[in-house]
């Protein structure tokens, strides 16, 4: 029962760390609002990709399925960041 040999442990640790950084560092006022927000959204979609590839095992799935979801990540991330940057500054 060695926890360190558990599958997905490293992915889980990266996901947790990324969440801590976005929630409790990048969202704070020490980071410029626009830079911080774009970084937060980009990291969120990187986390989504980790979940899809590793937890949902898309990395070993048939290629068209993997490409569909990877394409989805790119399009939605670009749309959200693009709409954010084209909006008014707050």
């Amino acid at each position: 029962m060695n926890l360190f040999k558990r599958p997905g442990l490293v992915v889980w640790l990266v996901l947790m760390l990324a969440t801590v950084i976005t929630t409790w560092v990048l969202s704070k006022d020490i980071v410029a609002a626009r830079t911080g927000t774009v970084a937060i959204i980009a990291i969120a979609f990187y986390k989504v990709r980790l979940v899809l590839l590793h937890f949902m095992e898309l990395r070993h799935a048939p290629l068209p399925l993997r490409l569909f979801f990877e394409g989805w990540i790119l399009v939605v991330a670009a749309a959200i960041i693009g709409m954010y940057l084209s909006g008014g500054t707050t």
């Binding site: 997905g8 929630t23 937890f55 990395r59 799935a61 290629l63």
Partner: protein, 196 residues
């Protein structure tokens, strides 16, 4: 990162995890949420001040902790599926119960969060921001409740030894759904709580 962080067991053959239908469902559900995410962004562009004022009333600690809870729950499901693949049948119910516990914790924290908003007189009608906030988090919470019930049923099934390396499809498909609930929250959280 891709191959380096994977578990050691190399799988040369490409295979579809779960059943085909669950991927169709997951894809459709993700497109439905994509529409909600993009409408939120349009709403935000039309009323930036209202959105920022609303956002500042949300507590990012709730959202962040809920993200950690769902990520951990997702990992527990990975461990349950892995135990089934390796026929370690006694382990499966333990991981499933842990995953279910995380789902319950998420729900309880949402009750507190909604309770605080409603008792402060904030409803979906209060502003455009709150309309999106309640619709997105509400739809997502329904998914969490459904998923938690599913995990509880799986837990009971696994105690009757319903899953092993040859009977994997149901557990794996349910697991895929639960990971999707996790990844939708990963996007929803910064969109509503962190976007300045």
């Amino acid at each position: 990162m891709e191959e380096r962080v994977t578990d050691s067991a190399a799988k040369p053959v490409r295979r579809l995890p779960g059943v085909e239908g669950v991927w169709v469902f997951v894809g459709a559900d993700m497109l439905f949420f994509t529409a909600l995410f993009l409408s939120t962004m349009i709403g935000r562009r039309d009323a930036a001040e209202v959105f920022e004022a609303g956002r500042l009333t949300l507590d990012p600690n709730y959202g962040g902790i809920n993200t950690l809870i769902l990520l951990t729950s997702s990992w527990f499901v990975v461990l349950a599926v892995n135990a089934a693949k390796r026929d370690r049948l006694d382990e499966i119910p333990r991981w499933l119960l842990a995953a279910f516990g995380c789902g319950v914790a998420f729900g309880i924290s949402k009750i507190f969060e909604y309770g605080a908003k409603l008792s402060a007189g904030i409803t979906p009608a209060s502003s455009d921001f709150y309309m999106y906030y309640f619709i997105l988090t509400g739809f997502h919470l329904l998914h969490v409740i459904g998923g938690s019930v599913m995990l509880l049923v799986f837990w009971k099934m696994s105690r009757r030894r319903a899953f092993d390396s040859r009977r994997l499809a149901v557990l794996e498909s349910g697991g895929l759904y639960w990971h999707m609930v996790d990844l939708l929250w990963i996007i929803l959280f910064p969109l509503l709580y962190l976007m300045k």
